[in-house]
């Protein structure tokens, strides 16, 4: 006999979608107003063996980033004679989302996230100071509740600061969304599943430049 299994919780199935994302008083599902961030906490130097590391919690999204480098390039063919290369690897823990994700080879989404982080930081880190070296950025999501890319960018900035890698500016990032014609700041997982857009934005505060902007919509 074949069974279909339903897990109650924060499913994306329409049958258990919350009725209203924004109450008439203007409060969201977790009690925030439209322009309020979730609670942020961060800690530097959590992995003593790494050159730099940071752990960031944004609400229930938890990310840990370690930075190794600048160090010798492993594959000599990839070395650049005039600058450091930046390598990024992104992983999500199998237990980080409501449904278990099989670990192993990184999936397309993981590779895309890694590439976005790498490109952003290639523009910000002063790579010309360290020719023929590589800087490795390893990102691991331990729990995800929306806003993964934003949390990773912030944690990466902190880890690079902890490693003492020179940068032109800090990269600060957050996700925005729009539900029922109301723009929302720092959306969580349920809000990102609500048939509205999910837009991560990363800015360099001193110059006011936007270094990453992306929009997904379901």
């Amino acid at each position: 006999v074949h069974f279909t299994v339903f897990y109650r919780g924060f499913d994306s199935s329409p049958s258990i979608m919350p009725v209203e994302f924004i109450s008439p008083e203007g409060l969201r599902l977790d009690g925030r107003r439209f322009n309020e961030l979730r609670k942020v906490s961060c800690k530097l130097g959590v992995v003593s063996k790494a050159d730099g590391s940071a752990y960031v919690e944004q609400g229930n999204t938890k990310a840990i980033v370690t930075v190794y480098g600048p160090r010798e390039v492993i594959r000599k063919a990839q070395a650049e004679h005039d600058r450091a290369i930046i390598n990024c690897e992104f992983g999500m823990a199998s237990f980080s989302a409501m449904h278990r994700k099989k670990s192993g080879r990184p999936d397309r989404r993981g590779i895309e996230m890694a590439r976005l982080i790498q490109q952003t930081f290639e523009a910000v880190v002063m790579t010309q100071l360290f020719p023929r070296t590589q800087i490795d950025i390893f990102v691991q999501i331990l729990q995800s509740d929306g806003g993964q890319l934003g949390a990773c960018m912030n944690a990466t900035t902190l880890a690079l600061i902890d490693a003492g890698v020179p940068m032109r500016d800090y990269v600060c990032s957050v996700h925005a969304g729009c539900i029922e014609n109301t723009p929302l700041l720092d959306i969580n997982h349920q809000e990102s599943m609500a048939h509205g857009p999910d837009m991560p934005v990363a800015v360099l505060p001193r110059s006011g430049k936007i270094c990453l902007i992306q929009m997904d919509a379901r």
Binding site: V5, S94, Q143
Partner: protein, 230 residues
């Protein structure tokens, strides 16, 4: 003056450790002590924090000194094996992501991780830590499958002991939902998780290493590299 002198000494000691690690270590062994100040038979300070990952059914973060392992248990409803139709099962997976140590190169899957996964699955399965029949929902049709995923966040030696402790702590922290099965062959798992696991026994492991024919307990990564056997 004085500050400058002690900084010089520290740099010399670090240089000595890099150039001649075994000789550096012998100096400590002669005093019956190890570089981090521990006597030969003492394990490192251990901390266990449970329940930090709320998306998992159970989780534990174990720190043995600097060695850090995060274990998370995800329970999924599955089909029982044919030979044991009313037994659930446990699947343990150990990952050594590149972030945990400068020694692990990005991109390459680690043999050490696979070896540890095999070892943990064998040891935990043979030790009967829980009655697999407790995981049965409907005999022959539905059982709980417990996936224990472990991530090493920092490798400073003795992954084995930390891993065993992490699995046990995560299983103890695990809470399963109630499952209702209806006549339309649908199984509904509740959002609430009121049911703890009934663990029959707790495993404890202790690792020894032999360095220069001296037995030490709970080796750090540096000591593991110098050891002739573990």
């Amino acid at each position: 003056g004085f500050c400058c002198f002690s900084l010089c000494e520290e740099m010399e000691a670090t240089a000595f450790q890099k150039i001649h690690p075994i000789e550096y270590y012998r100096r400590f062994l002669a005093q019956q002590i190890r570089p981090d100040g521990r006597p030969l038979s003492r394990a490192r300070r251990t901390t266990v924090t449970c329940g930090s990952v709320t998306t998992a059914n159970g989780s534990a973060l174990v720190k043995y000194g600097h060695t850090t392992i995060l274990a998370g248990v995800k329970a999924q409803v599955g089909v029982p094996p044919e030979e044991n139709p009313d037994h659930g099962y446990l699947v343990i997976n150990f990952e050594l992501p590149s972030l945990c140590s400068p020694e692990y190169q990005p991109g390459k899957p680690s043999e050490k991780a696979q070896a540890l996964t095999e070892y943990l699955n064998e040891v935990i399965a043979k030790a009967d830590v829980l009655r697999l029949s407790d995981l049965c929902i409907e005999s022959g049709a539905l059982v709980w499958v417990l996936y224990v995923d472990m991530y090493c966040l920092e490798d400073d030696g003795n992954l084995l002991d930390a891993a065993v402790l992490a699995v046990m702590a995560a299983l103890r922290n695990t809470r399963l939902p109630d499952v209702e099965v209806n006549e339309r062959s649908e199984a509904h798992a509740s959002a609430a998780r009121p049911n703890p696991l009934n663990l029959l026994r707790t495993l404890c492991s202790l690792t020894f290493a032999i360095v220069e024919r001296v037995l030490i307990v709970d080796p750090t990564r540096e000591e593991e590299k110098l050891a002739s056997s573990l």
